[in-house]
């Protein structure tokens, strides 16, 4: 990695990164560019988030689905760990709680492939500062 030498460079980098994200989120192909974030803080991992993440990766590659699986920090819903957030292009992200390996295929079958929701949705009950 080349060091960022000025603030202008940093800003340019940010723009590029944002553009990439936008491309993904506003993609016209609904079945591609699906993003799955798995909450992988201590409590998540303790409840099996690692296994869930592995299951997603495995299933996606088995079914040849173009999706990005990433880890993220604590979403705050400790009572419902492991939690995952799924973002389909052009749609609001939805958070599912109580996810285990079994539920992974259900989520893929129903929500990702069929746009049907699945039990265990966690309603977002906070404001992010982006809009504030």
């Amino acid at each position: 990695m080349e060091k960022i030498k000025t603030l202008a460079d940093l800003k340019k980098m940010q723009e590029n990164l944002r553009a990439k994200i936008d491309l993904r989120e506003k993609s016209a192909q609904p079945e591609t560019h699906i993003q799955v974030k798995v909450a992988m803080a201590t409590c998540g991992i303790a409840s099996g988030a690692k296994e869930v993440m592995e299951a997603f990766v495995e299933e996606f590659s088995k079914r040849n689905i173009d999706a990005v699986v990433t880890q993220t920090g604590c979403m705050g819903y400790c009572y419902a760990e492991p939690t995952v957030e799924i973002t389909k292009p052009g749609q609001d992200p939805i958070t599912f709680g109580y996810v285990d390996v079994k539920k992974v295929s259900k989520l893929i079958d129903k929500y990702i492939l069929n746009n049907e929701l699945v039990d265990g949705i966690i309603p977002v009950n906070y404001q992010s500062i982006d809009k504030h």
Binding site: L7, C74, C78
Partner: protein, 597 residues
């Protein structure tokens, strides 16, 4: 692609569950089935909306219509009107309490979302191990801004104007602390991040470090720029391996990107960070003890003044702030002091992260604006008390805090109000207790913690807390006298008055606040030898109710000490001498034949 047109989200949280959300869900399913709409409408049980006061809640997707206080009788109307006719059922819409207007789209219902995520803004959003995701979300912009556009003085002025106070417990104004450290002349200064989160039941700092380590690094660099330090130290619990790992990755990436190290962003400013490990001592959350621990010494506090800002790590001026405090800094710089100061109360600005735990449905991490009430936290975010028990108390501030009760439910939470209510903000642990929790036993639990964690340096804390614990033990064993209660209060007062550091000065708080709020419970223990919560083993007996017992022998077989006797099909008896009050018999009994006296 499925043909589902509508999703109906029915809250399955415990609070709503109690108000028949289950039946509502079933009713919808039946109605849909009856009308043959299975392929168009799907009913989904969700987690708690945290808005239990207005439950049960039904949310319609994709149009985000939010129906509150839905009753069984309303189901048909919703289906008919909303789904078939496409009209909203106005009377069930959420009513804005201020304007009285009905609000249909929950997207415009931000005010129902009690939480505002500032410190936690990136937690759960970004991959903490990828600096680019942080940069994409304004990461290191604040650092860039102060380094190129603002003088240290101007930056400190922003911090002061924002009203940010230390989130580690004490609540000292952050900007002022920076200013004091800046004013001290020295060839070397340090900034420290206190990540020695020791409150049992609190894990805010860990979550921030695990979820958004760069925000802390960025803020430390800003702090270094303001105070004149080129070296930062993160003092972190060794019990947090994941946080350590992510922090290390973040440091490495920040160095690779030139955001830590020499000549950051070409401004000539140098700053780098090192990690120091705690090793399991609660007292090291106190800044002088923390500094001694970083120096490789016993983590014993020393008398202040001198404050670390004058003489800290290796005798040099040192600015110590905690993780959550740091996590707020980049946002304040980016969005401005005024934006931040608009959130919160007169003297407590911004938000506070709490770790909500205990007898509450939505155990988790929340970030709420200062000034929110306990009631909102418990019933509108926390989803209410678990198993529909009665709320009894909330413990804030961990072992240094006190208990808040029903009478405090509507007090706006901020630094000063919590102290006035006999507790404190602390680092943000919030433990909810219900009717089954004994307040004397809780006080004893916290004292046991303090006794174990006291460093032993000053006598009031070393010996005094031990004596407090012993007196509480005496009371929970049924050997207490009314004089003990006076002694308890007096000794608590002296320990508060004479202890060396914050740990000792606050350690009697659980005792004093429980004495103040639950004196009758203490009196019951002392006078009636009774524990109403059924927690104090010495004060209770497991008894078999002869009327219900059918002699199935299940209890006898499960008793670990063979204290239960009785022939098959005969009423059984518990030998109170042998009984160790483990409660296994009661848990096992299928006939409700065992009760606690």
């Amino acid at each position: 692609m499925g043909k589902i047109k509508y999703h109906m989200l029915v809250c399955g949280g415990t609070g709503c569950h109690a108000s028949q959300s289950d039946q509502i869900l079933k009713k919808f399913e039946t109605l849909i089935h009856d009308r043959g709409l299975e392929n168009e409408v799907q009913v989904i049980k969700t987690g708690c909306f945290g808005f239990c006061e207005k439950g049960p809640i039904v949310k319609m997707m994709p149009d985000n219509t939010f129906y509150t206080k839905v009753k069984l009788d309303d189901c048909e109307e919703i289906l008919e009107e909303h789904i078939i006719k496409g009209r909203k059922v106005t009377r069930l819409l959420y009513e804005n309490p201020e304007t009285g207007e009905h609000v249909s789209d929950s997207k415009h219902m931000e005010f129902y979302k009690k939480q505002i995520r500032i410190a936690l803004r990136n937690c759960g959003f970004i991959n903490p191990e990828n600096i680019e995701e942080y940069i994409a979300r304004d990461g290191y912009q604040a650092l860039g801004k102060v380094l190129t556009e603002l003088s240290p003085e101007a930056t400190i002025e922003i911090m002061k104007k924002s009203g940010l106070r230390g989130r580690g417990g004490g609540g000292f104004p952050t900007g002022l602390k920076w200013e004091i450290t800046r004013a001290v002349k020295s060839d070397q200064k340090y900034v420290v991040c206190n990540a020695d989160e020791g409150d049992p039941g609190a894990f805010m700092d860990r979550s921030v470090l695990e979820g958004d380590p760069h925000s802390v690094l960025e803020a430390m660099a800003i702090n270094g720029y303001c105070t004149g330090a080129d070296k930062g130290l993160v003092y972190i619990r060794a019990e947090y391996p994941l946080a350590v790992e992510r922090l290390k990755i973040a440091m490495k990436q920040a160095r690779e990107y030139g955001l830590l190290g020499k000549n950051i962003l070409g401004t000539g400013f140098n700053f780098d960070v090192e990690i120091r490990y705690g090793a399991g001592a609660f007292v090291c959350g106190e800044e002088t003890a923390l500094i001694h621990s970083m120096e490789g010494l016993r983590g014993e506090p020393t008398v202040k003044p001198p404050f670390p800002s004058e003489s800290g790590y290796l005798g040099k001026p040192t600015n110590v702030n905690n993780v959550e405090t740091y996590a707020n800094v980049p946002v304040i710089i980016n969005k401005g002091a005024d934006w931040f100061a608009k959130i919160g109360t007169e003297r407590s600005k911004g938000t506070k992260v709490f770790a909500l735990a205990g007898k509450i449905n939505n155990v988790g991490l929340i970030e709420v604006p200062m000034g929110i009430t306990l009631r909102e936290v418990i019933y509108e975010i926390g989803g209410g008390i678990k198993n529909d028990k009665e709320f009894k108390a909330v413990q804030t501030g961990g072992p240094s805090g006190g208990m808040l009760t029903v009478k405090d439910l509507d007090t706006p939470i901020d630094y000063d109000n919590l102290i006035a209510a006999g507790s404190m903000m602390g680092s943000g642990g919030m433990i909810v207790m219900d009717e089954n929790d004994c307040m004397v036993a809780m006080a004893k639990f916290y004292l046991q913690f303090t006794v174990e964690e006291s460093c032993g340096k000053c006598s009031p804390c070393r010996i005094g807390n031990k004596r407090l614990y012993e007196m509480l033990e005496k009371i929970t064993q049924g050997n207490g006298t009314p004089e003990d209660l006076d002694k308890l209060r007096n000794l608590s007062q002296v320990i508060k008055d004479t202890s060396l550091c914050g740990l000792g000065q606050s350690s009697p708080n659980p005792v004093l606040s429980s004495l103040n709020n639950f004196y009758d419970e203490y009196m019951e223990h002392v006078n009636l030898k009774k524990c109403r919560a059924g927690k104090c083993k010495s004060l209770m007996q497991y008894i078999i109710n002869a009327e219900n017992c059918i002699g199935c022998t299940l209890c006898a077989r499960n008793c670990p000490v063979n204290a239960i006797t009785g022939e098959r099909k005969q009423v059984h008896l518990i030998d109170q001498e042998k009984c160790i009050k483990c409660g296994a018999c009661m848990e096992k009994c299928k006939f409700n034949a065992i009760y606690i006296k």
